[in-house]
Every structure is written in C-alpha cells, then in structure tokens.
C-alpha cells in the first residue's frame, strides 16, 4: 500500500493485490504440478497394491512389459494433448493409427528391402496427411473438430478396410530389423518406450517454454481473444491436427513393429482410451490447460490398470467400466479443484485492505 495517505480510494488498488503471492511465484504452474504429482501418487499406490498381491508385478520382465505396453498410448495421448489444449478434439487417431500400421505392413510387402527408417518417415508423413485432412476440413467448414473427426474416424477406417480387403500382414512379411525395433531394449528399457519419452519431453517442453506452445493454450483458453491478439488461430489449429496426425502415424508404425500381425482393425476404439488418458492426465477437455507430461502419466496409469486387473485376476469385463469411471472421476475432480481454486482467488480479490 505504497500510495496510501489517509484512506483515499487508493486502497481500491491495494485491495486486490495480495502481498503473499510474491513469495510464491508460479501460481498457475503450481496447479499443474499438483495434478502431475497426484497422478504419480495414484500410480504408485496402484503398483504397490498390485505388488503386494503378487510380487512378480515389479519384476524386470513385468516392468519392461508395462513400459512396452504404454508406449503407443503415451504417444497418442501426447498428440491428443496438443489438440485438446486448443479446445478441439481428435477422435480419428485410432483410425489413422490403423491405416498407417496397415500401410507400413503393405509397404514392406511391396518393397521387402526397404530400410525401416524410411518406412517410419513415410508412416509419419501419411499420418500427417490424414491430420491435414482433418485440419483442412475444420478450417474450411468452421465446425467443431468433434464432428469432423467423428466423420474421419469412419472415413479413414473405411479406407483402411477397403484397402486391406480382409488381408492380414504377418510378422514374416516384415524385415527382422524393423520388428526388433518393437521389442528391443536399451539397458533393459524398451526402445519403444524411449521413443515415447522423447516425444513427451519434446512436446511437453515445447508447450511450456516456447511462444508457439503458449499460443496453443491461449487459443484454447479464449479463441476470440487469441484472434484479436494476432495469433493465427486457423493456422495453429491446422498445425496441431497435422501434428496429432503425425504422432498417430508414428504410433501406427511402432504398432506395426511391435505387434507384427496386422489387419485393418488395428487400433479400433483406441480413440476413447486416448481421450481418457489425456483427461485423466489433467488436460481440461474444454481447452487451455493441461500438460503433455500429465497426459503421458494418464496413459501410463491406464495401461497399468489394465495390467493390474489381469495380474489381480479381476474379471476382465470390469476393465472398460473402470476406464469409464476413471474418466468421470477425473473430470469431476478437476471441476472440484477448479471450484476451490476459484473460491480461493475470489477470496483474495475480496479480502479487505
């Protein structure tokens, strides 16, 4: 209250200041950190309970299996984070993954000598192309991404089916070097997981520390304001869909490498899990907040739940119900936290001088 003389209206300004904030910088970031921490705790608790029931759950092989199992979902969830943060949603990722996976297989079938990095690049490019179709339609039609990607969910899958025509591609059709990618480990950590970690780190850091990344949050937080502050909203949203498509493409190639057996149904219904992972990971479904790290943790948590249920020998039919309940719990919890935060902020605003 530097300007106070005798209770002049100056304390109007003072009233809404809050001196204690200065000592605790990064209020906004702290909210996120809390979310990620609680996810880690949940994950830890889950692993602990499962391990108590069956100590092999934490054996080297099992951990490796877990890491391998979550890699693809993590990559997709990170891509989805990019999209959701801008207040959009991409429901077509499962279909893109399927299409790219099958395409990769056919590619090796057609050109057996192809080095796998080329296949990887081509897969990512095809995914990006699908993403561009999404992004383009959304930009042209100015309709919600939900509807467009619901449509392309059908369309991409249909193309995939049409092309595959009931064929199946087997591990034997693909080069060993490529298949090794799916199962190889470095110091006991699967390569697939390392790739996922790199993706998470790059996207997560970009979202946090680069102008382009921050602009995505701005778009999701208030699209109209974003437009007025000179952010090329259309172009950014388009780019986000291309990125999501490309990551789905990457996931598709990795899927091919990991599973070896491919038919056109690969990745059917995956979009639900991906959205669930992001939402559980604290990415607000209406945009503007959440982090790639959180989404990745959400994906790990979902995969771990799947494995835990199997290890705990719980009726597998419960798994989908658990996923649904988790989504509801996550958004419910978010809402509760948001309300409490809002109450706290209002409390500060209203606190007398």
């Amino acid at each position: 209250m530097s300007l106070t003389d005798t209770g002049t209206p100056d304390d109007l300004a003072g009233r809404r200041s809050s001196g204690d904030d200065r000592r605790r910088p990064g209020f906004t970031e702290r909210l996120l950190a809390v979310r990620e921490l609680s996810l880690l705790l949940a994950l830890g608790a889950l692993v602990l309970v499962t391990t108590l029931r069956n100590d092999r759950f934490l054996s080297g092989q099992s951990v490796k299996d877990l890491l391998l199992g979550c890699a693809i979902l993590v990559i997709l969830a990170v891509g989805q984070t990019l999209v959701i943060v801008t207040r959009n949603v991409d429901l077509s990722v499962g279909s893109i993954l399927g299409l790219v996976a099958f395409c990769t297989g056919s590619l090796f079938l057609a050109a057996p000598g192809l080095p796998w990095p080329v296949a990887l690049l081509l897969g990512v490019a095809l995914g990006a192309l699908c993403g561009a179709v999404n992004g383009g339609l959304i930009a042209v039609a100015k309709v919600p991404a939900l509807v467009i990607t619901l449509g392309t969910l059908y369309a991409f899958r249909g193309i995939d089916y049409y092309w595959a025509a009931g064929r199946q591609i087997n591990a034997a059709d693909m080069p060993r070097s490529f298949l090794r990618l799916g199962n190889q480990t470095v110091l006991g950590v699967p390569v697939l997981f390392l790739i996922a970690v790199v993706v998470v780190a790059v996207v997560g850091y970009y979202l946090r520390a680069y102008r382009g990344g921050r602009e995505l949050y701005a778009i999701g937080s208030e699209p109209a304001a974003a437009r007025l502050s000179g952010i090329p909203v259309g172009r950014r949203v388009f780019a986000v869909f291309v990125a999501s498509g490309a990551l789905a493409g990457l996931a598709g190639v990795l899927y091919a490498a990991r599973f070896g057996t491919l038919d056109a149904a690969a990745g059917t219904g995956l979009e639900l899990q991906v959205v669930a992972a992001a939402v559980v990971g604290g990415v607000a479904i209406f945009g503007g907040s959440g982090s790639a790290y959180g989404a990745a943790l959400g994906a790990v948590l979902l995969t771990t739940i799947g494995s835990s249920l199997a290890v705990l020998r719980i009726d597998p039919f419960w798994q989908q119900a658990v996923v649904g309940a988790l989504i509801l719990a996550a958004i419910g919890l978010d809402r509760l936290l948001a309300l409490r935060t809002a109450a706290r902020l209002r409390g500060r605003s209203a606190r007398g001088a």
Partner: protein, 354 residues
C-alpha cells in the same frame, strides 16, 4: 466460458456482433432450406434407388428398412433436443447395451414377468440418463466428456452384467411381436410407437414453452437463466428422457434380435449423431428442427439399404457414413460462406450502395 465450448464455440464468439449477425443470416438462410434439402434428398434417393436398385421397391424391403431404422429413429428424437440445448449424449448406444443386458439378466434370474421387466428396464434407462444429467447439470461438467465416460462405463457394466453370455430364451410370441407388421401392410408395427414419440418430441420442441426454452438455452444459457428458465433442470430431464428412450430401444433391440448381449448396439451413437446433424441440427446448439432429423434418419437408412442391395462393400458403407457426416456439417457452412463471399463481391463491385 460457462458453455462447454469444446464443440459449442461458434466461429466468431461474441466479439463482433455485426459480423456474427451477418454470418447468422447466411447460416439461417442455409439452414432454413436445409430441412427442405434433406427431404428433397430423401425423395431423390428413394426414387433413384427404386428405379435403379433391384429389389428395393418391394414391400418386404420396406419392412426390413423400417425395422432396421426403429432404434436409430427412437434415439435420434431425444438426441435432437439435447443437441438443440448445446449438449450431446454419446452414451446412448452403451445405455441401450446395458439396458439390454439388464433385461436379459432380469429375465434369467429374477422370475419377474416380462411386462414388468420391460417397464423396469425403461425406468432403469431413465436412471442411467439421470447419472449423465447429474454430472452435466449438477456438477457443471461438459456433456461431451461426461458421456464419453459413461459410454465406456455403461458398456463395461453391460459386459459385467452378462459377461459374454447371451440370454436368448425370450418367449417367441414376444420376439415375433417385435417384428410383426401392421396387418395388411408391409410396415412393421414397431413404427407406430416411433411415430407417436416423434409427434410428442416434435410438439415439445416446436410448440411448447419448453421447446422455446430449449432453443433459448442452446443459444445463450445465461440469458435463458435470467429469463426464468431452469436451464440445469431442463437439461437434467432431457438426459433422463434420453436414458428412458434408450431403455425402450434396449427392450426393442433385445426382442427383435431375441438376444440380450453386452455388445448390443455397439457404435450406434455415431450413427445417431450423424443422423441428427444430417437433419440440420446445429452442433453449436440452438438450431434445428425435428422434421429434418426424421428425414435425415430415413435418408441414412435408404442410402445404406440401397447400397447394400446394390452389393456395395460394407467398407464403402463405412466411408459413406463418415462422408455424409462431414458433408452435413461442411455443406451448410460452405454455402453460407459462399453466399457471404458473393454478397461481398457484389458490394465491392458496387461500392456506392445506399
């Protein structure tokens, strides 16, 4: 921001009234004729299919076609109202599935009469819808996220209820009644309740105070609140109604296929949303008419049936469904855009307008 803006973020949210207004008149022009366009497309599709597709224009085929459309048409009715209020219910197909398995389980183990079971299932559907409604209105969560959650939850529970088992020993008199025709016509008797419900929902939407309130809250829920509309309650009951209709569809589905299974109606929610959007209901809320939706449902059914009869690959059908969905949202906007552009060009060519 009060709106769950994920899918309800109109192109130019609020900041520029004039532009929005301009765009809206364009949209309205496009939408006003959208109903008519869908009906015209339907008539055209029927004519073309009748002439060029063998076996299309037969009584038996009409029966098959309509029978296949009953669940879709029923689910599209409450969905229309929900989308008009700016919400969405993606859990409908899972609710149908859960209702179906509950019906099977009750029949299998409760010893209750089938009549009672049917009533119970419809009520249970209402309860499942109420859970959606509670999350959406009570906790203020976006319906998209909530119903994606219950989509997974209800489907999971329906597998929990019956596992992968099917309950199939429903009395033949009942299962036959589900597919019986109105005597003397090729029209299934199940169409009658659909028509009745369509009438009820149509009147509610277009000729009652509730309907007015639905449009108002779909456009601006704050203004609706200030005008004394109980937005939350109305939406809550819409979800309940949606759930109850799902229960009804669950009963019909179970009897028609004489089989209560956990995977009944899987994926149907996408078709329902497609039909509703194809019928000209705006996904932003606040716009749309029930007639268009009914025409949309029929158009979808006729196209699928005709293409199937013409031996078009199932995979091509998948693509057609996706393409229709995209076209139904892209076209009106593209038309509006085009008109606006033409208008501007005329303006520019003639700058000294009045």
């Amino acid at each position: 921001m009060a709106h769950d803006s994920l899918y309800a973020a109109p192109p130019s949210a609020g900041t520029d009234t004039e532009q929005t207004a301009g765009r809206l008149t364009g949209l309205r022009a496009a939408f006003g004729s959208w109903d008519a366009a869908v009906v015209a497309a339907l008539v055209l599709a029927v004519l073309v299919a009748g002439v060029s597709v063998q076996n299309f224009a037969t009584g038996r085929n009409v029966q098959f076609l309509l029978l296949d459309l009953v669940p879709l048409a029923l689910l599209a009715l409450p969905m229309t109202l929900i989308v008009v209020t700016g919400e969405i219910d993606l859990s409908v197909a899972s609710t149908v599935g859960l209702c179906s398995t509950l019906m099977g389980q009750l029949w299998l183990s409760s010893g209750l009469s089938l009549e009672l079971i049917c009533v119970l299932v419809v009520l249970l559907g209402g309860v499942l819808g109420a859970v959606n409604g509670l999350f959406v209105t009570g906790f203020g969560l976006p319906s998209l996220a909530v119903t994606i959650g219950t989509l997974a939850l209800y489907r999971g529970l329906s597998f929990v209820v019956l596992g992968d088992q099917a309950v199939a020993d429903f009395p033949a008199s009942w299962t036959a009644a589900a597919v019986r025709n109105i005597p003397g016509t090729p029209i299934p008797a199940a169409v009658l309740p659909v028509l009745l419900l369509a009438l009820v929902f149509g009147v509610v939407l277009h000729a009652t105070t509730t309907g007015r309130a639905l449009y108002a809250m779909g456009n601006n829920d704050q203004a609706a609140t200030f005008a004394g509309v109980s937005v939350a309650r109305t939406k809550f009951w819409l979800f309940v109604a949606s759930g109850a209709v799902c229960g009804l569809v669950g009963v019909f589905w179970t009897l028609r296929y004489a089989s209560a299974r956990g995977d009944n109606a899987t994926g149907l929610e996408l078709t329902v949303v497609t039909a509703v959007l194809l019928g000209g209901v705006s996904i932003f809320g606040g716009r749309g008419a029930l007639l268009g939706v009914v025409a949309g449902v029929l158009l979808l059914g006729v196209l699928r049936n005709a293409l199937q009869l013409a031996d078009v690959d199932a995979n091509a059908l998948t693509i057609v469904t996706g393409a229709l969905l995209i076209a139904s949202v892209v076209l009106p906007n593209a038309v509006a855009d085009l008109r606006a552009r033409l208008h501007r060009r005329r303006q520019r060519a003639n700058p000294v307008a009045p």
